[in-house]
């Protein structure tokens, strides 16, 4: 695993998130459920919880966009870059963007698996960099066909617990 410079992380125990735009490939309720599931994979391992907000600015703003979309990293059409996210911090910090030119799927059909990609990008939103462990969710290239029993790898868990400590079982 790797961390961002200065080990950027969220200092509060509760991190807010908001889904501000959706893809036409999946029902909104499915996107909301998969985002919640992705965040649960991380919060299961660390003393941090997530609260969804429906208006205003959240710590983690999540959205779909195509091409240039307001940050310095325009998306590039189908394939190549699928999504990106920013390290914890104010403004763009923590935000996760998904390329609307991809074909997003919940695993029930061909396409880019949104749960897998969202879990990866939200790992960045929490402060993880890319891992060179091919089995890690934080490995930079996308791997097809990982939906059932999808979970974090030991490398991912080690990295996120390096930042936030372990979840206390009180």
């Amino acid at each position: 695993y790797s961390l961002f410079p200065a080990q950027l992380k969220w200092n509060s125990r509760v991190v807010t998130y908001r889904v501000i735009s959706y893809t036409r490939d999946l029902p909104r309720v499915t996107v909301n459920q998969l985002v919640s599931k992705a965040l649960a994979l991380w919060s299961r391992e660390i003393p941090l919880s997530f609260r969804r907000v429906l208006a205003g600015t959240a710590d983690i703003m999540i959205g779909f966009a195509r091409g240039a979309h307001g940050d310095y990293y325009p998306f590039d059409g189908p394939g190549n870059t699928l999504a990106h996210a920013f390290a914890p911090g104010p403004g763009l910090g923590g935000d996760a963007h998904f390329d609307e030119d991809e074909r997003w799927t919940d695993g029930s059909r061909l396409g880019v698996n949104f749960l897998v990609t969202a879990t990866h990008e939200l790992g960045h939103s929490l402060g993880l960099g890319h891992s060179s462990d091919p089995n890690a969710v934080m490995y930079p290239t996308y791997r097809v066909g990982e939906s059932k029993n999808f979970r974090l790898s030991p490398d991912d868990i080690k990295g996120i617990q390096k930042l936030y400590g372990e979840k206390s079982n009180l």
Partner: protein
């Protein structure tokens, strides 16, 4: 003109794609003032993907560069 040694015999489109990929995902590190030559960046990518570090483009690297991926760089910049 012939491509440089680091191109490893790859085609010119693959050479250009490799240059774009390395500039995007293996930025030079302003703190360590690491060199940002093609060879230096390629070595960083080879180190990251646990491949032999030669500084020369290979079919395996071209294959990795063509995979769909996350837009965040692989090394901190």
């Amino acid at each position: 003109s012939p491509l440089p040694r680091e191109a490893g015999g790859m085609s010119e489109p693959q050479w250009r794609q490799a240059q774009d990929y390395l500039r995007r995902f293996y930025p030079s590190n302003s703190e360590t003032r690491e060199a940002d030559s093609f060879e230096a960046r390629l070595k960083r990518m080879q180190t990251f993907f646990r491949l032999p570090v030669t500084g020369v483009l290979t079919p395996r690297l071209v294959e990795i560069m063509q995979k769909p991926r996350c837009g965040v760089p692989d090394v901190a910049d």
